[in-house]
């Protein structure tokens, strides 16, 4: 799977970090999310799906193959 993050939309809610900490983290300077892993393995699928569902800013997209 491929994860995309639309940074300018992010409101630093931290929800993705809670849902999939191995895929998402927040920048030190402003808490905006960034990807630790753009193509995470299948074990992360549930977590990433949850992140997509809870992100308040619709900033995360998941392309499954």
């Amino acid at each position: 799977m491929r994860v995309e993050l639309d940074e300018p939309k992010c409101v630093a809610s931290g929800q993705c970090v809670l849902a999939a900490p191995e895929v998402f983290d927040q920048r030190d300077e402003d808490g905006i999310a960034f990807l630790l892993d753009e193509t995470p393995g299948a074990d992360s699928l549930d977590g990433v799906r949850e992140a997509v569902a809870v992100c308040p800013a619709a900033a995360i997209r998941l392309a499954e193959r």
Partner: protein
């Protein structure tokens, strides 16, 4: 007349079910996704009843959080406070500009670093509670001091001023305080914060106020805007967290099987899940997210017009059977993470990682340290905050 069919909002809760949304509200949810409701001053707004529509509209840029926009719903009651405080009632791009100035300290990992300090605060207050009179009021002795002391820690309020800060923040939300007393306390806290920001401008330290002061130096904020921002952080996190602590404890005491699960678990993931479920179930910001529509929007086959108002009662969104099975049951084992207790869209709670961590520490500590905790009065005698902006209890007498 068709007019008389417009229901009044807010509606009363059922006396026997203080944790459930008003029955009339649940009926509206079953009937239609959008319902016109009338407020105390006769004005009408659209009530958005269902989870999916609430999320869609809160995330829609054609929906404004600015109360000066035409159609923005009137405040919930004549007594409710007035006033726009910093970015919570602004739209992007200014909202985003200001919010991003204070997002860093609320990042999940930064908040996690505060956990030991919050644990110390909670343990200290439990020591004091146990050493004091029994029964005691849990709101006054425990629920209100926690967020006040935690925000002191985060903002960087010196220890010597904690008593002043706690006293005044308590008055700001106290039932017996007159509106004048509340206003006075709030002005004194604002003046105090303004002074502290001034000090940080000349002598910066490692705290949130110094971060805000830095923006003043850089010319990105006026001193006044900086003070309002600090006050927003205080106000938004104070009564909310306190009510989650007190109302959550009462709800658990009424559901002993659930309380037992929590007391017997030392799994941080279970405790975290329990916090999400209590947030979903209690939904203390019960009067809804209020917004104005700036361009016509079609939703569920209906058009809401520019200049109309929306009230998204997330309280019933969190009880939407389409999303949460058996929604009126408090079930600490369910996955409740998709709740909207922190709102949705760009205004979704900035303090949520902090609120979560505080509640995890509280729920994970209080009932283990005081296993015999019990209500010291009948449920009927507990004074609920039916008319308050944030739902909860004014007082919670407990014994152990």
């Amino acid at each position: 007349m068709a007019d008389t069919l417009v229901p009044d909002f807010p509606m009363p809760r059922a006396a026997r079910c203080p944790f459930d949304p008003p029955p009339a509200l649940k009926e509206l949810q079953q009937q239609a996704p959008l319902v016109k409701v009338r407020q105390w001053d006769g004005s009408e707004s659209w009530l958005v009843t269902r989870y999916a529509d609430q999320r869609a509209l809160l995330g829609d840029p054609r929906v404004s959080a600015d109360p000066d926009r035409p159609g923005y719903p009137t405040k919930a009651s004549p007594a409710a406070g007035e006033g726009k405080l910093s970015f919570i009632m602004m739209d992007d791009p200014e909202h985003a500009r200001l919010r991003r100035m204070v997002t860093a300290p609320f990042a999940v990992k930064r908040v996690e670093a505060l956990r030991p300090a919050v644990q110390r605060i909670v343990d200290g207050l439990i020591d004091d509670l146990l050493a004091g009179p029994n029964p005691a009021d849990l709101v006054e002795t425990f629920a209100l001091p926690i967020p006040s002391l935690v925000i002191c820690e985060l903002l960087g309020v010196p220890y010597a001023d904690h008593a002043f800060f706690q006293d005044h923040t308590k008055t700001m939300v106290h039932r017996d305080a007159t509106p004048e007393q509340r206003g006075q306390a709030s002005r004194e806290v604002a003046a105090y914060l303004a002074g502290l920001i001034g000090e940080r401008v000349t002598r910066p330290q490692e705290d949130l106020l110094s971060g805000i002061a830095g923006r003043v130096i850089a010319g990105e904020l006026t001193h006044q805007q900086a003070t309002e921002m600090a006050l927003l952080l205080l106000i938004a996190g104070h009564e909310t967290t306190a009510n989650m602590i007190a109302l959550g404890t009462l709800a658990l005491l009424q559901h002993p099987d659930q309380l037992a699960l929590l007391r017997e678990s030392d799994d941080p993931r279970f405790i975290a899940g329990a916090v999400e479920e209590l947030l979903r179930y209690l939904h203390i910001t019960h009067l809804g997210r209020r917004r104005a529509v700036t361009e016509d929007i079609e939703i569920g086959g209906q058009v809401v017009k520019a200049g109309e108002g929306l009230i998204m009662v997330n309280e019933i969104g969190n009880r939407d059977p389409e999303v949460f099975a058996d929604p009126d049951r408090l079930d600490l084992t369910r996955d409740a993470r998709r709740h909207v207790a922190f709102g949705f869209g760009v205004h979704q709670c900035l303090g949520q990682p902090l609120a979560r961590m505080e509640l995890q520490v509280v729920y994970g500590t209080l009932y283990r340290r005081i296993p015999t905790l019990r209500p010291a009065c009948a449920l009927e005698d507990v004074p609920f905050k039916h008319d308050a902006f944030i739902y909860g209890v004014h007082e919670l007498p407990v014994a152990w």
